[in-house]
Amino acid sequence: MKRRTLLATAALGLSLAFGGAAHAQDKTKACFIYVGPIGDLGWSYQHHQGALAVQKEFGDKVELAWQESVPEGADAERVMTQMALGGCDIIFATSFGYMDQVNAVAKKFPNVKFEHATGFKRESPNVSTYNARFYEGRAVQGLIAGKMTKTNKIGYIGSFPIPEVVMGINAYYLQAKKVNPNVELSVVWAFTWFDPAKEADAAKAMIEQGVDVIAAHTDSTAPLAEAAKSGGKVIGFGQASDMADYKPSPRVSSIIDNWAPYYVKRVGQVMDGTWDQVDVWAGIKEGEVEIGEITDAIPAELKAEAEAMRDAIAAGTYHPFTGPIKKQDGSDWLAEGATAPDGDLLGMNFFVEGIKGDIPK
């Protein structure tokens, strides 16, 4: 027993020394770990599209490996360790919940690069974090929602009350309110990332309440399918992927998570040895957040306006969170003309003034 332990420790030490790249080969090995099935057509699906883009870009020079449906926690740590041991040169961990595991494994394999989506911890130099400014897309949706609603009731299906989602709700509401002061927002928390039947029920409940524009921060197309049953009265947006099947209505536009440019760039950097630690929060400008085609179901004028906003955000001339903005309780948040610091946004746990209801605690 003792002896084997000793050997194991020695082997671990050895792998530390060589950074696990015992399988040194000509090919660069890029590995991906997903929290859901790649068939979810939402979050994990889009990350996998990014992975496939890497393969397409570099062809034979890269080798892909991935693992779907990895629960956060011990399983993630083991899968990443296996990947590192198995010769992966760069590992993309594509869920917030992998954060502590990424950092733990990264410490043991200093020569393997780790990329963690939506996280903020970079405890060793081989860990980078990256995220997308989805709120930029939400602002464009808010504009469309505010103008398109006839009942002045717009809806948002939230998954969990985390900053990422709260930020989206605020951006959506602020923009809608700006163009339509009478607008009321109704938020339904589904307490799930993925449960098509429940998402459909949530959409249905909102439609029955008179809501006629629905945005969702859950991953399935169920809310759109529900909206489709209204016969054109209710519109919605694609989330994570384009959900083009529901064009031209109810899906009038979409937010597409396009990870491909970032993945291609970072794998390329590993290949030519220029990879360094970064903390990227990219948006429309970098192409990481794409606004899917705005369909003819909305007036040409509004379409042009929405596209102009998209371009202004991309150009950096417009920030969706520009003061004056007050918090829900009436206290000041942003002064006139001030834009929200990234730190405030990333930890956002309050609604802006005008939204009814509480964030579940």
Partner: protein
């Protein structure tokens, strides 16, 4: 009522929302009445969901899709039947294995069907009846399967209560040894019941992927099969109470989402656990009132039968 919740819409959507769990629960009810505990409802439902979806997409007919779903669910349930009735395997473990296998296998089958829209099945045309205030929406605005599921409740109730077949089925569930001694083919009856349960679960799954959601995604049932199992217990093995249970559960699920959307001011976390808590509470009330209802379980539930000679 809170905000703008329209009771007629609420009732109409709870009827629709509870169809999958009702269908699956009715199937399981018959299976359990025959003395077999099949915990694989989730697996059979999801097989029904994908088989129904594939059939509907390939043939373009939603009705054939439902048939495909029933066949898919029944096919998987026959695996369970072979294990438990022929190979004498443990029913609880076999059922859970069925769920594991069903979820995995359905995902394999469905790989090329992700993101496709299935053919549409509309509401049954009742013409002017649908325009009657209140009742029009509640009674005459649904698709065929809402009515079929309620008809199934009545049919199963009548079958179990009055038909000779129902009597035999119950006898097998209450005492397989006695039924065997009377010359009934215990295994054959149970296999038929299991297949029926699988077909019903498959229909429930197909309803999810073809009407309720409607699309195919991995893990689409998201636990509906487990709820169906709970409904059978809730109903203490009576069909009409299964309907009540499904409507109660579906109703509270729909209501809590409506209350959220209507900004009723009740904390969301309590709303989202309410369907489960209220189902428990109602069952407690019902079972404490009469004392013995929970003992209504078929006496041979979960026990395997082997004819000694």
């Amino acid at each position: 009522m809170f905000g703008g919740i329209d009771p007629s819409l609420l009732i109409a959507s709870l009827m629709m929302a509870s169809v999958p769990i009702l269908l699956a629960a009715l199937g399981e009810l018959v299976v359990e009445k025959a003395g077999v505990l099949n915990l694989g409802v989730e697996g059979m439902m999801i097989m029904g969901a994908i088989c129904g979806f594939i059939t509907a997409v390939e043939t373009g007919s939603p009705m054939l899709g439902f048939l495909g779903g029933a066949v898919g669910g029944a096919a998987l349930s026959l695996l369970f039947a072979v294990l438990t009735q022929v190979m004498q395997a443990n029913q609880v473990a076999s059922g859970l294995a069925l769920t594991l296998f069903g979820i995995g296998f359905s995902s394999l089958l469905g790989q090329s069907y992700v993101g496709i829209k299935p053919p549409h099945l509309g509401a049954v045309p009742f013409g002017p009846l649908a325009d009657i205030p209140f009742f029009g929406k509640v009674l005459f605005g649904h698709d065929l399967f809402v009515y079929l599921s309620i008809a199934a409740v009545a049919a199963i109730w009548a079958f179990l209560k009055y038909a000779r077949g129902g009597l035999i089925l119950r006898a097998v569930g209450e005492s397989h040894d006695a039924a065997h001694a009377l010359g009934y083919k215990v295994v054959r009856i149970r296999v038929l019941a299991i297949a029926f349960g699988g077909a019903m679960a498959g229909l429930g799954g197909a309803y999810l992927s073809l009407i309720r959601v409607p699309q195919w995604v991995d893990g689409i049932t998201a636990g509906a099969g487990w709820i169906a199992l709970a409904i059978v217990v809730f109903a203490s093995w009576r069909p009409w109470r299964a309907l009540l249970g499904a409507w109660l559960f579906g109703g509270i699920t729909v209501l809590q989402l409506n209350l959220q959307a209507a900004q009723a001011g009740i904390p969301v976390e309590y709303l989202s656990m309410s369907p489960y808590v209220i189902t428990i509470l109602v069952l407690v009330l019902m079972s404490s009132g009469r004392g013995k209802t929970a003992l209504n379980a078929p006496a041979c539930l979960g026990q395997n039968f082997h004819a000694a000679r």
